[in-house]
Amino acid sequence: MAVRVQAEDFDVGIEHAALTQGKTAIGGVALFVGLVRDMAGGQPVSAMTLEHYPGMTEKQLEAIEAEARRRWPLDDVLIIHRHGRLEPGDRIVLVATASAHRDAAFESCRFLMDWLKTKAPFWKLEATPEGERWVEAKESDDAAAARWTN
């Protein structure tokens, strides 16, 4: 199972071990773990709630994964994205890519994070001392995704 959308936390070590178990052609695994930060836009953040679009989320993540596999020779891919209420320091997302070659692992992992941030239907609601606010999309994320379209 390469794409999971879940409320529960995940264990990076268990996921890494499962991804590589018995696959001795893998030379490297690149992983990225996104975490809830305690500050945003200069304000303290006490909690973050992730809303998503069930059904479409999984479809989009599977499409993003398929695109990564078309672009790079990957032995395996794992994407886990959490939804629901999270606190600073909590894990939000895990992307892991396994390949014979480290450049393919690194690049596909970064590609997946960039596309996930602009295509996967998740929305963050931050709780701050001034109340709740929806996180605005960043132009830097659009720019990051655009670099893969050339």
Partner: protein, 83 residues
């Protein structure tokens, strides 16, 4: 036709889903967004700036000129901010 709203579109409009029957001349996503604005002041406010209203039809991102078909599931939402 089933409409879904997410994030601040949902909170501004006050409902997560609604079922609508637009007339036949509402043939594209863009026309549907315009038509939905007339449903209430909350709709008009939430949908005022089309630059931040993104649309998925049957769970795929689509542009505003995408044609509509009966039975489509149409979702309206702000730019995504996951990851």
């Amino acid at each position: 036709m089933k409409i879904l709203y997410f994030a601040w579109l949902r909170t501004k409009i006050g409902v997560a889903t609604e079922t609508v029957e637009p007339p036949a001349e509402v043939a594209t996503v863009g026309a549907l967004v315009e038509w939905l604005k007339a449903r209430s002041p909350q709709h008009a406010d939430a949908l005022a700036n089309s630059k931040v209203v993104k649309v998925a039809v049957n769970q795929e991102h689509v542009p505003y000129d995408h044609p509509l078909s009966p039975g489509d599931e149409v979702a309206l939402f702000p730019p995504v901010t996951g990851g």
